[in-house]
Each structure stands twice: as structure tokens, then as C-alpha cells.
């Protein structure tokens, strides 16, 4: 590849590839979350499968974590490199005249999403890793709960209004990030002019539908339990 990924365009492509992976992951995460509204049993079954299937746990999960970490670290590296490329700042710079706020502030929407991921890991991922890998309990059950524990744990998390509020705010930032990120990823991959309008429409739908879906699940459990 002749050091392709070391070039400025290579880094853009790497950002876009990790973004595609993360956007695909968000879709499947949302699909499973929505199951919790439709059928607690089905949600439990799918969660248990995802949480115990060796292919998902030992192959896809590490890829996902790599994708998340890579996207954040590369995002920060690019931001620092770009700041360095700026040199002296303008006394007056009217960015709003030629570009959208979301496109100019990807780093800040990204930082907000990173803060959310920390909260999300404390809420769900660390306890899950603790149960399965430290305690060695792969049963998916919990004392006092009939059947699998996943639905009960989910519902329990969305009782606290502060946490629900934090989730809602985080998904607003995710929507802002996706509004630029979706089409930007395609542009970085060399997306063609002929499909620009279609891509923009799909991007807008995706960046609204996905965060609203996650917010809906959180609010549904908050108001129903």
C-alpha cells in the first residue's frame, strides 16, 4: 500500500472505515434495544446470545473496541495536526458564512459522545465483564429474577431521571455528530457526485432515526416502570 494509511488521505479513509463500522454497530444495537420495548423475552434471548456467543464475544467485541478506540484516538490526532497546520489564528473568522456548525465542531460532539461512552461502560459494560470474566458467571441469570437478567438490568438503569437525562443529551450530540459524519465518511471514501443527494437524504434520516430510537427506548422504560 506504499504507506497509504500514513498519508493525509489514508487517515481520512481510516476514519471513514471505522465510522462505517461504528454506524453499522449502532444499527444492530438499536435493533436489539427496540426488542426490549416489543418483547422482554425476546430481548433477553437475543442479549444472552450476544453476550455468550464466542464469535461475538471473542472476535467481534475486540474489533468493536478497537474501532471505537481507533476512531477516538485518530480523531484527536487529526485535530491536533490540523491545529498545528493553522499557524496564527485569525482576528476575525466567519466560519458560519461557509460551513455548518456541526461540520466545524465534530471534535466537541465527539468528546460529548466519549463522555457518554464512559458512563455507558460504567453502567453496562464493566458490570457485564465483571460478571462473566471475573466472577465467571455465564448463566445470564440473577438471584430474584426469573429467566435471564438482561431486561431487569436495563429497566433498573432507566429509573433514575438524571441518567435518562444524560442519555438524552448524549444522543443529541450523537445526532449532531452523525449529521456531518455520515456523508463525510462517504466523501472521504471517494463517494461520487451522482449519488450526493441520495446520500445526504439517507444521512439525514439515519442521523435522526438512530438517536431518536435510542432516546425512545430510554424514555419508554423511564415512564413505564
Amino acid at each position: 500500500m506504499n504507506g497509504f494509511f500514513k498519508s493525509s488521505i489514508g487517515r481520512k479513509v481510516a476514519m471513514a472505515l471505522s465510522a462505517f463500522f461504528l454506524m453499522f454497530f449502532l444499527l444492530q444495537h438499536l435493533a436489539i434495544n427496540l426488542l426490549s420495548v416489543i418483547s422482554p423475552d425476546l430481548f433477553n434471548e437475543v442479549s444472552h446470545f450476544m453476550g455468550t456467543n464466542p464469535l461475538i464475544q471473542f472476535a467481534l467485541q475486540p474489533v468493536l473496541i478497537f474501532g471505537v478506540v481507533f476512531h477516538f484516538i485518530m480523531g484527536f490526532i487529526l485535530e491536533l495536526k490540523n491545529k498545528k497546520a493553522n499557524g496564527v489564528s485569525y482576528a476575525q473568522n466567519n466560519g458560519a458564512a461557509n460551513s455548518s456548525w456541526v461540520s466545524r465542531n465534530m471534535i466537541w460532539s465527539g468528546v460529548a459522545i466519549l463522555a457518554f461512552i464512559v458512563l455507558h461502560f460504567i453502567d453496562f459494560w464493566f458490570p457485564e465483564i465483571n460478571t462473566k470474566f471475573i466472577k465467571g458467571d455465564w448463566s445470564g441469570t440473577m438471584a430474584g429474577v426469573e429467566g435471564y437478567r438482561y431486561y431487569e438490568e436495563l429497566v433498573h438503569k432507566f429509573v433514575n431521571p438524571v441518567r435518562v437525562g444524560a442519555y438524552v443529551v448524549a444522543f443529541v450530540f450523537l445526532a449532531l455528530h452523525l449529521m456531518h459524519g455520515f456523508t463525510s465518511a462517504f466523501q472521504s471514501m471517494g463517494g461520487t457526485a451522482g449519488r450526493k443527494k441520495t446520500l445526504q437524504a439517507i444521512g439525514k434520516a439515519y442521523s435522526i432515526f438512530v438517536p431518536v430510537g435510542f432516546v425512545f427506548v430510554a424514555l419508554y422504560h423511564f415512564f413505564n416502570h
Partner: protein, 250 residues
């Protein structure tokens, strides 16, 4: 409209090593029909007459063709109008009593030489790295029309070739990225049969030189496309990305 009295806040910097600063000047009786550079000429005459150092700024053809004039005016490359260079910006875009901020292009790869003049040789070095076709033009030059080229490719190549290399794309980019310029130069040749022979080396060498010069990484904000006096499209950046991917996979 009556003639205008204006306050100009201008970046003054003695030389590349000096520390610069914004300095305020008053100009009076400016006609709305003047171009921005003519207004700058009025200021400089005033400064010369009072024994002060005139403001150094780049200009040449004053017809929007050569790409020499620059200036970041009120926070925008080539000022508030669209599809024009600073020499084509008219004073009717401003109002009596306005304070106008005038700065040089800002990018680490475009260091200030003096006042509002920056060194844009980085663009030249990128061009030297591959912005040409190796063809012997002496003697047996064949007629250009003997090579069939589709109308679409010819139009797109011509659109890319209208880039005058002024550097507004870099100046306006929040990342000081030169990808619109390099994208235009790569596209101009990649679209035509004459350019396709050296397409792979061209894009690799030009991108390598662009990175070496210290330009930033494009984040697709699209600001460059809006501020470009020639309306060079972001599609050229996408094409450059494709060209580099294609070249790297070879």
C-alpha cells in the same frame, strides 16, 4: 449611495520574523464603484503622503484571473461576496461607517512575508511534484481533437482547470487543508486520456508533497468550495481520494 468613510483594521508585520499586530486606519470618501484593491491603493497613497510605510498586499492582473490577490476580509477569504477574487470585490458590498478587518491568509504552510503578503510557494512545489503531463511539445505535436474525449469528462476537467491557485481554500479551511487545490490539479489530468498515463505517480507524489508542506487534513466541512472564486467542487477531493486509493492498490 454617497461616498463612504471607513475604518480599516489591518494586519501589519514588518517581515517574516517580526511579530505582527492589527493597526487601525481611516479612509474617507471611498466610492462604492471602487474595487477593494483600489480602496487599498487610496489608503497606501495616503500613507505614502504622510511618510508612513504603505501596506504590502499581493495583486497582479486585477481581473480575477491570475490568482495573486488574497486577503481575509471580515472573516472571509476574498471578502463577503461569492465567486470572486478580492480584486473583483466592490466597495458597494460595504456601508458607510463600517470597520473592515483585513488579514493575510493564515496557515502554517503559508508564512507571512510582509503585512498581507504570504508565501504560497508550497502550491508551486506541489505542482512540481506532479501537476503536469510529460509530453514533448516541440515538433510533432498532434492535434488535440484527434483524441476522442467525452463532453462530460472535458467539462469536468475544464472546471477543475479553472483553479487559479490563489489559496482561498487553505485560508478558509479550519484545518488549513490544501485538498481542494490538489484535488482540482489531480482531477484536471485524471479525467483526460493524456493525464491517465501518469495518474498513479501524479496523485501519490502530489499528496506526499502536500503532506510534507504541513497542510492539514480535510474534514469535509465544504467551506473551501463556498469560498473558492472559481467554484471548484468538493467532488474533486472525492476524485483525488479515489485516485490515491486506486494508485495505492496497484
Amino acid at each position: 449611495m454617497d461616498n463612504m468613510n471607513l475604518t480599516l483594521r489591518i494586519w501589519r508585520q514588518k517581515d517574516s520574523n517580526a511579530k505582527g499586530q492589527m493597526v487601525d486606519y481611516k479612509v474617507t470618501d471611498i466610492s462604492e464603484h471602487m474595487s477593494f484593491l483600489e480602496m487599498m491603493d487610496v489608503l497606501n497613497e495616503q500613507l505614502v503622503n504622510s511618510g508612513e510605510e504603505p501596506v504590502a498586499f499581493d495583486h497582479d492582473c486585477r481581473e480575477g484571473i491570475c490568482g495573486m490577490c488574497s486577503l481575509y476580509i471580515n472573516g472571509e477569504a476574498h471578502g463577503p461576496d461569492r465567486g470572486i477574487t478580492t480584486c473583483q470585490l466592490h466597495m458597494r458590498m460595504f456601508n458607510d461607517g463600517d470597520t473592515i478587518t483585513i488579514e493575510p491568509w493564515r496557515a502554517a504552510a503559508f508564512p507571512v512575508i510582509k503585512d498581507l503578503i504570504v508565501d504560497r510557494m508550497a502550491f508551486e512545489r506541489i505542482q512540481h511534484a506532479g501537476g503536469y503531463i510529460s509530453v514533448n511539445t516541440s515538433g510533432n505535436t498532434q492535434d488535440a481533437n484527434s483524441l476522442p474525449i467525452s463532453k462530460i469528462a472535458a467539462d469536468e476537467a475544464m472546471d477543475a482547470a479553472t483553479c487559479i491557485g490563489c489559496g482561498a481554500c487553505v485560508a478558509t479551511c479550519k484545518n488549513s487543508s490544501a485538498m481542494l487545490f490538489v484535488g482540482a490539479k489531480v482531477s484536471q489530468y485524471a479525467l483526460l486520456p493524456q493525464g491517465q498515463v501518469e495518474a498513479a505517480e501524479r496523485v501519490q507524489n502530489m499528496v506526499a508533497q502536500m503532506d510534507l508542506e504541513g497542510f492539514g487534513n480535510c474534514t469535509n466541512t465544504g467551506a473551501c468550495e463556498v469560498e473558492c472564486p472559481k467554484g471548484i467542487s468538493l467532488d474533486n477531493i472525492a476524485r483525488m481520494n479515489r485516485e490515491l486509493m486506486k494508485a495505492s492498490l496497484k
